[in-house]
């Protein structure tokens, strides 16, 4: 039986999620054995420079990092989708627009003018959007960066044709399972755990720190209710806004509107 052909693609992002794939170490070598990695620039010694053409072939699975930030990217993405049986996104940028989506609520031409000597040379759309705003996505993995173990499980599930066990519930669920005394209840810290998706392994509360939401909104997050609690602790509305305005702001705001 032919090995499934996999392509790992990147748009606007820091490459951290792709590095999380390398962090699988032994298991990463396993990917190379079980699949044909047909496109993976991050995994090459030197980029071959022929980017676009190289993926004009069929992929059984496209793994996409990064948000859509330029016109060219949106075209490339359509091409990838057309050529892929399954497409999954990895990380906050691809799944939720990334930190660069902060510009969606500001004026990008102003940024360009203030930062670059030749603003017209900067190719950037007014908005940075997640992959799902452009094409159908079969599975989304959250996190900034993703959790390598979750990626391993999702890829194994793809190979086995089963549903991954990655949950959409709150970080609190994982936090309680681990038996960590709640930093919000026992320390009045502004922990975003109740509105954030589980999956990171409870990194911050394990170290007695408030979660800052890098795994994005959980299914059905009641964001305004949590912000009212934080306001009760003395945080201003603006401070609350800044807690949410990070790498997942696009999705947090979308969820806020839904209520």
């Amino acid at each position: 039986m032919a090995k499934p052909r996999i392509g790992i693609f990147k748009f606007t992002s820091c490459d951290g999620c792709q590095l999380s794939i390398f962090n699988l170490e032994e298991e990463f070598l396993q990917i190379a054995g079980l699949t044909e990695i047909a496109y993976f620039q991050e995994g090459q010694d030197a980029p071959d420079g022929n980017g676009f053409q190289a993926w004009a072939a069929h992929f059984d699975l496209a793994v996409v990092e990064g948000s859509i930030s330029t016109e060219r990217q949106s075209k490339e993405l359509l091409d990838i989708r057309e050529n892929s049986s399954r497409l999954i996104t990895i990380g906050a940028c691809a799944t939720a627009g990334g930190v660069q989506a902060l510009r969606n609520w500001a004026d990008v031409s102003e940024f360009k003018a203030s930062e670059y000597p030749a603003p017209d040379a900067v190719e950037a759309l007014a908005e940075s959007t997640p992959i799902s705003a452009h094409v159908h996505v079969d599975y989304e993995l959250w996190g900034c960066p993703i959790n390598s173990a979750e990626f391993s499980e999702v890829l194994a599930s793809f190979l086995l044709g089963k549903t991954p066990g990655v949950p959409g519930y709150s970080l609190c669920m994982e936090c309680k399972r681990k038996g960590i005394p709640c930093v919000l209840v026992a320390g009045q810290a502004p922990c975003l755990g109740p509105v954030t998706r589980a999956g990171c392994g409870v990194l911050c509360p394990s170290l007695n720190r408030a979660c800052y939401g890098c795994f994005g909104p959980k299914d059905g997050a009641n964001i305004m209710a949590l912000m009212r609690i934080f306001q009760g602790f003395g945080y201003t509305e603006n401070q609350c806004r800044m807690m949410l305005d990070k790498m997942n702001t696009y999705k947090f705001r979308e969820m806020e509107e839904k209520g």
């Binding site: 499980e153 089963k162 209840v185």
Partner: protein, 369 residues
Amino acid sequence: MAIKGTLKKSRLENLLAVLNKSHRVIGPKAEDGAVVMAEIGYKDIPSGVRDLQWPGGCRLLPGKDSQVFSFSPGPDSFKRFLHPPVSELFAFKRNGAKIDFLPAPKISERPMAFFAVRPCDLSALKLYDKIFLGGPVADQAYESLRRGSLVVALNCLYPGNNCFCLSMGTGPEARDGFDIQMTELEDSFLLEDGSAKGAEILEQLPLGQAGADEISAKRQRIESCKAAFKKSIAAQELPGMIYANLDHPHWEDIARRDLECGNCTQVCPTCFCNTSYDYAALGGIAAGGAVSGKRLRKWDSCFSRSFARVHSGNFRFSRKARYRHWMAHKLAYTQAQFGLPGCVGCGRCITWCPAGIDITAELEALRHV
């Protein structure tokens, strides 16, 4: 014959030592601003620590030196140990059409002794036994952890701010379901056996005579605890009050505050819901196609959208419906199904709810339109 005796506070260590001969002792320990439960030694007991609890808050404070148990239960209960948050039910190896099943590794050969179990939790444990062992087939994972376990109960002398066992009929005094019960007195503990195993343990301790004075001191202390409760539920009106108010506008009000985070269910000693699924990662797939993985069981919650998902979505489609279901399960359905209260009044869901949603106040609000 029933054994009663007093154990000097300075000798409490002896009790733990005797328990520890045959059992892992699971008891209270202070950690990061809360009293949690863990495998402990005598020195871990947060003797003299007081905890201040309120809806959505908890703080540890220094207490009186002479008092050992001046704290209320924290987020943990026996549940963490008898129905672990994540457990492996079995492992499997599939090679072509052949599947082998391997039993899960045993957590420990030594059974557990639960130390300083509050009366509310005794009632919750009774419910757990009924749920996990009482059906036509016993749950093997629970059965193997529960087998040979010991329960040392502790009568409550102060209710926590969020406790309401008195109104649920589950506390603050231990009535059954323990091997030994302890009551903290001025400078000793009154120990009483509740089973043959408990009596055997008490026989190994340097107990003093317990006379009429100690018995009346115990009574007095429990009575003054009963007079100090701040919270209650009108249990005599259950389940009617729930069934008559399924369309009450107050559910919407709760839904505005509810984070759907699931904390209440995770800390509740009677919540038992879980999900099981087959876990396989890349490391478990061999080049030839053989697959090895595990069937895992994890705590889940009716607040998770994935929990009641059927082919086309969650049949409890709103936040309101999910909270209402949870409260009705606690205060109405469990009693109907198992003949035991589904809420034992421990107040954990009130303290550990980040939104401070208080089951006693929410129930009371259903009275008003």
